[in-house]
Symmetry: C2
Subunit: 211 residues, 2 copies
Amino acid sequence: MDNINQPETTPGSPDSTEQRIFDAAHELFVLKGLDGAKMQEIADKAGINKALLHYYYRSKEKLYEMVAKAVISRALPIIQNLLESDDPLEEKISRFIDFYIDMVSRNPFVPLFVINELNKHPDRFFEAILPKELPRPHNFFRQVEEEIAKGNLRPVKPQHLLVNVVSLCVFPFVAKPMIRIVLGLDQQEIKAFLAQRKEEVKAFVFQAIKT
Amino acid sequence: MDNINQPETTPGSPDSTEQRIFDAAHELFVLKGLDGAKMQEIADKAGINKALLHYYYRSKEKLYEMVAKAVISRALPIIQNLLESDDPLEEKISRFIDFYIDMVSRNPFVPLFVINELNKHPDRFFEAILPKELPRPHNFFRQVEEEIAKGNLRPVKPQHLLVNVVSLCVFPFVAKPMIRIVLGLDQQEIKAFLAQRKEEVKAFVFQAIKT
DNA sequence: AGGCGGTTTAACTTTTTGGTTAAAAAAATT
DNA sequence: AATTTTTTTAACCAAAAAGTTAAACCGCCT
């Protein structure tokens, strides 16, 4: 095992069995959750025997835990950086929206996974999965308040602004099938619709907060 | 059985065994999903023997299907009414936000249930659960376009406006535990925070769409 | 070549879980 | 009161799923 300079959550060399198992588990757990994904299924997808799962990862729980950790610890630092950079506020919000929508449209099941995990097993989540270092939106909040003081921004509670932006970015991708039904869109149309979200969200947010 | 004037999805008299089973199943399925909820668990919560579940509802699938139908058919007509009423647009949006946030804060797990169901078992959902009549936001869209034509509204795509409003209403409740962590709020504070959402969303949306 | 550690497999065991059955208890009907 | 019907239970069954084991395999070292 030569994973000396890799985080424990991304095990083994790039195409090792260990890694293949992890990737298969990652895909299936994110897609179906802990109960929905079956060990046999994971083994099949990884192209190996079921016993190997237990050889490399002691139990289903353990494997799940590592996957969950990897998912979380991949997303958090980027968010942290975006929020705490020293870019001017408007640019920061714009970048944040771009990044978030890019991420969510590439991995539409990840936010759902995190939300489910957090709602349904909060105990495990806090104890085993969340890292000590959490995004601190402190700098972002300060910036918002400064701009308000300068009169460049309508007085909005910075916490609500952050929640609003994230809501507008994430929810439409999570609720994609529902939107398809209600708006009566086909595969192509919903894709086009979601592709417009970056510009739409930016326009909506900037209009909402400008003085 | 005297459920002559009740929908088939709400069976039996108010405190019958049948109803108690249904209520228990409702709670657990909404909370944990099809795979997560176990028949024994449902029986325990209903205070009866496991065999009774199969006596009243043939199988887990059937029971789940009825619960899902009940959840859906409770919410859809109200949304339909809100969207298609002839209230003036601003009032309609305001009512919509009030209702949606009320509903979601009373049943925070319902939207998550619907979203999961729709993402993970779309086939079953379309065939067995969704009613024929779906909310048609047609009237709402027309109103938006009229107001834009009259110059009362910034030109926004009505579909995006609808999605934005729903996102702002639903997402914060679904993502409540995540918000708690990131904003560092305790039980009381997050409750207060979410209670502000109605006014916050209205202010945000109206500012975003006004000319 | 022969042994050694890590890797992989097939076959097995145990636990969980959905579902069944036959009979007892309770309620309704006569 | 007797009987029929509905409700409820305990015990059981079969399938699925997690987890285990012992033996085979494979690359490497000397």
